[in-house]
């Protein structure tokens, strides 16, 4: 699967998308869902929580293991995806179409510190 060019990526396998309203939507990459296998449970952050880049904010559990999800940038959680919580397998079906939470960034410049698609592919295939 091609890594979308319009997204930014953390080395820890999250994708981040800058929306038109200045918020950032976060999910996990296709490489991540592939490594995890069948996803069966999501624990997502409450709206209002203030997070720092690199901080553990969510958990994705597959049949075989639990994995921490980190905030790719700092800011305030403004929404979590309740539909994904009810259908965690949608992450396996469409990792880039299934967002987990939205952040209102406190410093939008942090996005520049993330990887582009080619940079992430290099990390994922390492």
């Amino acid at each position: 699967m091609t890594t979308p060019a319009n997204l930014k990526y953390a080395k820890s396998h999250e994708w981040a998308k800058l929306e038109a309203d200045g918020t950032v939507t976060v999910g996990i990459t296709d490489h991540a869902q592939e490594a995890l296998g069948d996803v069966v449970f999501l624990e997502l952050p409450e709206a209002g929580r203030v997070v720092k880049a690199g901080q553990e904010v969510a958990v994705v559990e597959s049949v075989k293991a639990a994995s921490d999800i980190y905030a790719p940038i700092s800011g305030e959680i403004i929404e979590s995806n309740g539909i994904a919580v009810d259908a965690p397998e949608s992450i396996n079906a469409d990792a880039y179409g299934t967002w987990l939470f939205k952040i209102k960034p406190s410093n939008i410049a942090e996005l520049d510190g993330l990887l582009d698609a080619a940079g992430y592919d290099a990390v994922a295939n390492d």
Binding site: H13, V40, F41, V63, K64, A65, A66, S67, D68, Y70
Partner: protein
């Protein structure tokens, strides 16, 4: 998600991986290969969940060639087994019958769990776990001194488990020549073709056993025939399944996994395996007996069904009215659509109790039940 909080198997990543005779077959079928107990094994071929469901509903097959068959032959074979094992092989009176047992240390700690097949008078096949095979063989060779019997490891054999409600029928479609000898096998019974017997099935052993809670066969064949057997089974609709599905199937079936649910540090009486320890013959001095008789169990082994949302995993703390315990295996249970665990908890905890399991920063409610959770295609949880 750079950090896997918990690896799926306790023996993951041990040494340089060995390969079974079916390694190339797995790779060609896009098996996702992982190191399990020192062996390069497929964890799944695409979806662990689908592989789980196919075994509950139809027929799947597993490469279990990493496990070791050991032949035991000699006039003292039975007396040796009655000394070596906690279960009593004197119960094996019908040819082909199998017995599950623990092999214990003097202090009662579990060296391994295994299956003994009674092939014929003075002749047995013992099947042990992969990760413990070398240790087991060394221990057996140490204990066999003074007995007139000989141990022969059979790495020249591959093993394939065909499991599911349609497993036997599909197996007979692929190997009609084997039907006559296997159609009358009762559960936990095996039949063999000795060397040179039958044009095609020389040295085959077919047992109506498994590790999934479903009907089926476990088949041992010479290694050079393994890929052909696998392909023949696949051609009649038996679906290749990985160790991931094997783990969720055995957990639902309430079957212990060595190295996870028990090991040298615990005895079978605290591992839900009291039914496998045979004290009846007071004159039978099996290894570990004295220690088991001297130490009444302080902990009991139970099943947990998570009532809240989440996934139980091994090594989570279990808070009970009688003190703290620990989960030993835990997973999402695909047949049930919720999470279950096996747990070692203080004596006093009763089936039907509600306990709390610590998962990260939360304490989630779980109901204490008697395993198994699911067998023969059905959840058993509703009735509990």
């Amino acid at each position: 998600m750079d950090r896997l909080v918990r690896a799926p198997f306790p023996l993951l990543g041990q040494t340089m991986a060995q390969r079974t005779p079916l390694y190339d077959t797995h790779v060609a079928a896009n098996g996702k290969m992982v190191d399990f107990a020192g062996w390069d094994m497929p964890i799944h071929y695409g979806s662990q969940l689908e592989e789980h469901h196919i075994v509950r509903k139809d027929a799947g097959m597993f490469d279990v060639s990493h496990m070791l068959g050991i032949d035991l032959v000699g006039a003292d074979a039975l007396p040796f087994l009655r000394h070596l094992l906690a279960n009593d092989c004197a119960k094996l009176t019908v040819e082909g019958k199998a017995l599950y047992s623990c092999m214990l240390q003097e202090d009662g700690g579990v060296i391994d769990d295994l299956i003994v097949y009674f092939l014929a008078s003075e002749r047995y096949r013992i099947v042990v776990n992969a990760g413990t095979a070398d240790k087991d063989l060394a221990w057996m060779r140490q204990q066999i001194t003074g007995f007139n019997a000989e141990l022969t490891p059979r790495r020249d054999l591959a093993m394939i488990a065909v499991q599911g409600p349609n497993a036997r029928e599909r197996f007979w479609m692929a190997f009609p020549v084997a039907r006559a000898k296997t159609v009358l096998l009762s559960p936990f019974q095996a039949t063999e073709w000795v060397a040179g017997e039958g044009a095609d099935l020389s040295e085959w052993l077919i047992a109506r056993t498994g590790y999934t809670g479903e009907d089926g066969f476990e088949i041992a064949v010479p290694v050079d025939e393994a890929a052909g057997v696998w392909a023949a089974l696949q051609a009649v609709g038996v679906v290749p399944c990985g160790l991931g599905a094997r783990d969720t199937l055995r957990l639902e079936a309430g079957m212990n996994l060595y190295g996870q649910d028990m090991d040298e540090r615990v005895n079978p009486l605290e591992s839900g395996l009291t039914w496998t320890v045979d004290f009846k013959d007071a004159g039978r001095d099996f290894i570990g007996r004295k220690a088991l008789e001297a130490t009444p169990p302080k902990r009991t082994f139970v099943g947990l069904v998570l009532q809240d949302r989440g996934v139980l995993r091994a090594h989570q703390a279990v808070i009970t009215a009688h003190g703290e315990g620990e989960t030993t295996s835990g997973s999402f249970a695909p047949t049930l659509g919720l999470s279950v665990a096996l747990a070692r908890v203080p004596v006093g905890v009763q089936f039907g109790d509600t306990v709390q399991v610590k998962i990260r920063d939360k304490a989630l409610n779980a109901k204490v039940v008697k395993p198994p959770f699911a067998r023969n295609g059905k959840s058993l949880i509703q009735e509990k």
